[in-house]
Amino acid sequence: MSLLKIENLKVKVENNLILNGINLEVNEGEIHAIMGPNGSGKSTLASVLAGKEGYEIVEGSVWYKGMNLLELPADIRAKEGIFLAFQYPVEIPGVTNANFMKTAVNEIRKYRNLETYDAMEFLNVMKEKAKLVEMDTSFLNRSVNEGFSGGEKKKNEIFQLAMLEPTLAILDETDSGLDIDALRIVANGVNSLRNEHNAFIIITHYQRLLNYIIPDFVHVLNKGKIIQSGDKELALHLEEYGYDWIKQNGIINN
């Protein structure tokens, strides 16, 4: 079933056209990878989908579960199951990870008319999910991302993903800067969370992560446009040719 449908999306940032007619359809159960050179608009697309303010939608539409996504505030999108793992997670001094997740999970559960967790249940769920990303539970009492290493921040994103169990998860360069162990942890997290009812959009600069998370589709983004789509083989070709080649010649013929 179609989960997300992006049609001819054109977006300006500070009067520059950054997304220039994106078309993309994601169905339940699928994993899509979006690859592209720096500055091609990957993070912009992710932020627009997650509901960040400051973008001017020039043209096009985004449908999510039959709703006009672009009209919903960011928190409602999250409550409806959209999740963005940030390329640069934000530090929030004074708010503990535990408090952050408890607030988020309970807000989402309230929205969905589910009972909120009590403190004990909640702690158990958190401990279990922390294990999934191999984080020591002591991090739960630390301030959100404050003083975390790059790898810890990325693992924390996956921890939050596991806590919130979204329907559509967008991972923005979660693999960048990770060593091989952290990469494996992130990939395991994603693989254990995927099922036939949810979908993932994995934004990455490198093919590396796609050895662990096997995508159904790979799209190449350049200058705000998807210039080519294919299966996982396309990622390997991209790696081989390099982004400079793409920038000069456009699509790869095989």
């Binding site: 997650a50 509901g51 960040k52 303010e53 505030p73 960011a74 928190d75 999108r77 999250a78 409550k79 999740f83 963005l84 940030f86 997670p89 934000v90 929030i92 001094p93 004074g94 708010v95 408090n99 952050f100 997740m101 408890k102 607030t103 988020a104 999970v105 807000e107 989402i108 929205y111 403190a119 301030s143 939050q160 919130l164």
Partner: protein
């Protein structure tokens, strides 16, 4: 003395009191006290009520005080309201160790202190013998005295003297609980606290001010604190007063060699508050860490003036004040650091961070540095901003609505200071007052 004095101006009100009490031939005070009060009165008349032209009062307009018909009538019978209030506070303290004051008057029957190794005196200035430390404390008049600290010296009739003898670690905190409440009359109250901590002793002290008034209360407080060699004081000043309360505090701390001051000034008052904190580092290797948090709501005015003077070498001062300014409130932070020529190897840090939540709120923040030594590490910074947009988006992207996200971030901003308070009872009390004050959702 009991008649109402109509709109004659505050200076004149003080002058009439002075004439009544001190110029009368049958004054009960000792000559030394009369002398101090006279000197103070002369200074007060000479200076007059400060105006905006005075650098120290540039943002702090006190002329409205001339329009309030204050009376000197004492209201010290305990109302049911005050009784409930005192009991509810006492109930929240896990260590029952407190002195209670009502409209400036010490209430022995409500107070409870279980300390052997400590001297606590409720002194009366009209008694015929006073501890020399009390007299010398009153004698310290200088150019940091304002109209209001002078007024305190002229008007005050009693006070509390706490003396910790040598080599005593007083582990049980002492709570000074000041309740103000007046239903009809515009009253003036004065409190005086003198603390002496002898060498190598330690004290935990909390000064709590709460008020609930239907008429105006003008309250002046002077705290004079001496830390002798190797002494340590943890001091929390927590002000939670209503919109009808006008408070002026002056806290003087003198630090001798290797002594250590840790103090937090938390102001949630909704009326008018001016705090002067003067820290004098007079002995080598002494350290002062003074933090503060102020929340401006409605039409409140909160002014924190701090002044730290490094008089000798190798001392450390660490200052950090945070403020949230909402509604039509007006907050002022003025932090003065003076490093004298002899004070080499000084470490002095100062930071002031503000969140301005409304268009009608005002914050004036100003560091003032006077550095006369050359081997000094000194840093300072002041910021005024809003709640960070990126942080709000991060929280929203996890399903937290904008209102709750802002709540969470505001609370986090303030909690940063609150969590550093040394006393866990008060961390809890202040945190729950904060939630009420900012209309935050209780989030656990």
């Amino acid at each position: 003395m009991t008649q109402n004095i109509q709109n004659i101006g505050l200076t004149e009100i003080v002058a009439r009191y002075y004439d009544d009490i001190l110029e009368s031939s049958n004054s009960a005070y000792m000559p030394s006290i009369i002398d101090i009060k006279k000197k103070s009165f002369n200074m007060l008349i000479k200076n007059g009520l400060p105006t905006l032209k005075n650098e120290e009062w540039k943002y702090t307009n006190v002329q409205f005080l001339n329009k309030i018909p204050f009376t000197f009538e004492r209201i010290s019978y305990i109302t049911q309201k005050a009784d409930n209030l005192i009991r509810s506070i006492i109930n929240k303290l896990s260590q029952k160790n407190y002195l209670v004051f009502f409209n400036g008057k010490f209430l022995e029957e409500y107070s409870k202190i279980e300390h052997e190794n400590i001297e606590i005196i409720n002194f009366k200035l009209d008694s015929n013998s006073l501890n020399p430390l009390i007299i010398s404390s009153f004698n310290k008049l200088d150019n940091t005295d304002s109209f209001f600290s002078l007024m305190n010296t002229i008007l005050v009739e009693s006070g509390i003297f706490i003396n910790v003898p040598k080599n005593n670690q007083i582990d049980k905190p002492i709570n000074l609980i000041n309740i103000l409440s007046s239903e009809e009359k515009n009253i003036i109250t004065s409190t005086r606290t003198i603390i002496n901590i002898s060498p190598n002793s330690m004290l935990d002290l909390i000064i709590y001010n709460y008020s609930d008034n239907k008429s105006s209360v003008l309250n002046t407080a002077v705290n004079d604190i001496s830390l002798n060699e190797g002494a340590q004081l943890n001091l929390l000043l927590y002000q939670n007063e209503d919109k009808n309360t006008i408070t002026f505090t002056k806290t003087n701390v003198n630090l001798e060699k290797e002594s250590n001051l840790i103090t937090d000034t938390i102001t949630f008052s909704r009326g008018f508050t001016r705090n002067d904190l003067n820290v004098n580092l007079t002995g080598e290797f002494s350290k002062a860490r003074f933090y503060g948090l102020y929340i401006g709501k409605d039409k409140s005015f909160i002014d924190n003036h701090t002044r730290v003077e490094h008089k000798v070498a190798k001392c450390q001062s660490d200052e950090f004040y945070k403020g949230i300014i909402d509604d039509s409130s007006h907050c002022v932070f003025n932090g003065k650091i003076i490093v004298s020529q002899e004070a080499q190897k000084t470490n002095a840090y100062q930071s002031n961070k503000n969140i301005l939540l409304s268009e009608n709120g005002i914050i004036n923040t100003k560091p003032q540095l006077e550095i006369y030594a050359d081997d000094v590490k000194c840093s300072h910074g002041a910021t005024v901003g809003n709640i960070e947009k990126d942080a709000i988006f991060y929280l929203k992207s996890r399903g937290i609505d904008e209102f709750t996200a802002k709540n969470l971030l505001l609370k986090a901003f303030a909690i940063d200071i609150i969590n550093k308070i040394h006393n866990q009872d008060w961390v809890g009390i202040i945190e729950s007052d904060l939630v009420k004050l900012l209309n935050l959702k209780e989030i656990n």
